[in-house]
């Protein structure tokens, strides 16, 4: 007894399941495109280098939160020598005013749902 039918079915199932992302991507025409984010127009310089911000902005924001809430510190000195207030709404969002077109685009892209907005009010469009 070989049970060829069952084994072939199993193998097809295996191949379909394990290659499913490929077929789904091909079918939906997905390509390796970076999400299109809206960058601030006036301000060209961020509180830290772009590469660092891309990978680790959450660390910075988290650190700010700790310093502000726990230690009552407010001032942040950037690597470039500028002073900023450690504030999500007042500093970050003053430039990156469009959450939907800046924060969310990347966050959605890599399926991250930060809980910033559990406490902070979402900025209104064009504030």
């Amino acid at each position: 007894m070989y049970d060829a039918g069952k084994i072939i079915t199993g193998l097809i199932l295996f191949l379909v399941l394990f290659t499913a992302p490929i077929w789904v991507n091909l079918a939906s025409g997905t390509s390796a495109k970076r999400p299109d984010i809206k960058l601030p127009i006036e301000e060209k310089e961020c509180v830290a280098a772009t590469a660092y911000m891309k990978a680790s902005h959450m660390d910075l924001i988290y650190e700010w939160r700790e310093l502000v809430v726990r230690e009552e510190l407010r001032a942040y000195h950037s690597p470039a020598g500028k002073e900023y207030e450690m504030s999500l709404t007042k500093t970050c969002l003053s430039c990156h005013s469009n959450k939907a077109e800046f924060c969310d685009r990347c966050h959605n892209y890599v399926a991250v749902s930060p809980y910033c907005w559990d406490c902070h009010t979402e900025p209104k469009e064009g504030l």
Binding site: Y2, R34, M58
Partner: protein
């Protein structure tokens, strides 16, 4: 020695990917070529192994029965531990595959002073095995956020469940802790138990260490040495849409992680890890105990020389006659 070889193999893999991407500029090789080759080897290898198994028939019906058979109506049978129907077999296999039913039976024998044997419950191997496999599955499924755009809904659900306690930023996933814990247990039990150390081969240590390294680099990347996830997803999407690109600004740590995964995929079909597919074909588990109800066919049912009744009667004719036993030919 065997542990050392395995450790060496994993270390070399790490060093290779590190040097290759940190100073060698071989991002395309490690980001595209190796993963693609590995995926192909994995898929082709598994199919090849299964087809090889499938080409050998199951000549006999050798179910291992682990409960009461189905016989008389009034005797309660064990449909899952000793199934007599296809449905029962599906149930038995599901219990094996999803919950490691047989391993759950595990006991530990001890010879007490005075020569008494006692059997204690020993569920740690089962628990660690189960935790490892399930964590691995959840982690693989979570990674679908890098494979598909938009990210499928199930990933979000899994992330919410896995990160239920919302510890830290990014949120700590329980599966990350569990997989490392379970793997460490599985690794150290091999070293600490003398009998296990005795039977273990390089091919036992190597995959354990390899998967530990994969999990560790993943954890390192998620919680400590972060990289540009958007770029990572671009790379993965490129691979999974068969139009690869290599974005800049992905750290060597990511390439190490990806290369280790590639090694695992390529190694998988050639190793004991094929138990993932083999379990489904194990004849002691996937056959129902119906061998007296339905004839099982052996395609090569070898012809053999038998001793016929006629030969027997011819040899013992006088004795048979003398004993008053009926004869075919007087």
């Amino acid at each position: 020695m065997k542990i050392l070889y395995s450790l060496l193999a994993v270390s070399i893999s790490i060093a290779f990917a590190w040097v290759g991407t940190a100073s060698g500029g071989l991002h395309y090789l490690f980001g595209v070529v190796f993963p693609a080759v590995a995926v192909f080897l994995f898929l082709f290898g598994i199919v090849y192994r299964v087809v090889r198994w499938a080409r050998s028939p199951v000549p006999f019906h050798i179910t291992t029965t682990c409960g009461q058979q189905k016989s008389l109506d009034w005797i309660k049978s064990s449909p899952l531990d000793n199934p007599s129907s296809t449905l029962g077999v599906i149930g038995r296999m599901a219990l094996e595959v999803f919950f490691f039913r047989s391993l759950f039976r595990n006991t530990k024998m001890e010879l007490k002073n005075g020569g008494k044997l006692v059997y204690g419950s020993a569920k740690y191997l089962w628990l660690a095995g189960l935790v490892f496999h399930w964590s691995f599955l959840i982690i693989v499924l979570r990674h679908f956020r890098f494979f598909l755009e938009p990210t499928p809904v199930f990933v979000g659900v899994l992330q919410n469940l896995d990160g239920f306690f919302q510890v830290g930023v990014p949120v700590l996933f329980m599966s990350d802790i569990l997989i490392l814990g379970a793997l460490s247990f599985l690794f150290f039990r091999r070293i600490v138990t003398p009998q296990l150390r005795y039977i273990s081969l390089i091919s036992d240590y190597f995959p354990l260490l390899l998967i530990i390294a994969i999990a560790a680099t993943g954890v390192l990347m998620r919680y400590f040495l972060k990289t540009d996830l958007v770029a990572v997803k671009q790379l993965m999407l490129g691979l999974f849409s068969v139009s690869p690109i290599v974005p800049e600004a992905i750290s060597p740590l990511f390439y190490i992680h990806l290369f280790l995964v590639s090694v695992l995929l390529a190694y998988f079909p050639a190793s004991k890890l094929v138990h993932m597919a083999g379990i489904f074909l194990s004849p002691t588990r996937n056959l129902s105990n119906n061998s007296r109800m339905k004839r099982h066919i052996n395609p090569w049912n070898a012809p053999v020389k038998v001793h016929t009744y006629e030969e027997w009667e011819d040899e013992f004719r006088e004795l048979i006659k003398g004993a008053g036993i009926p004869l075919e030919k007087e």
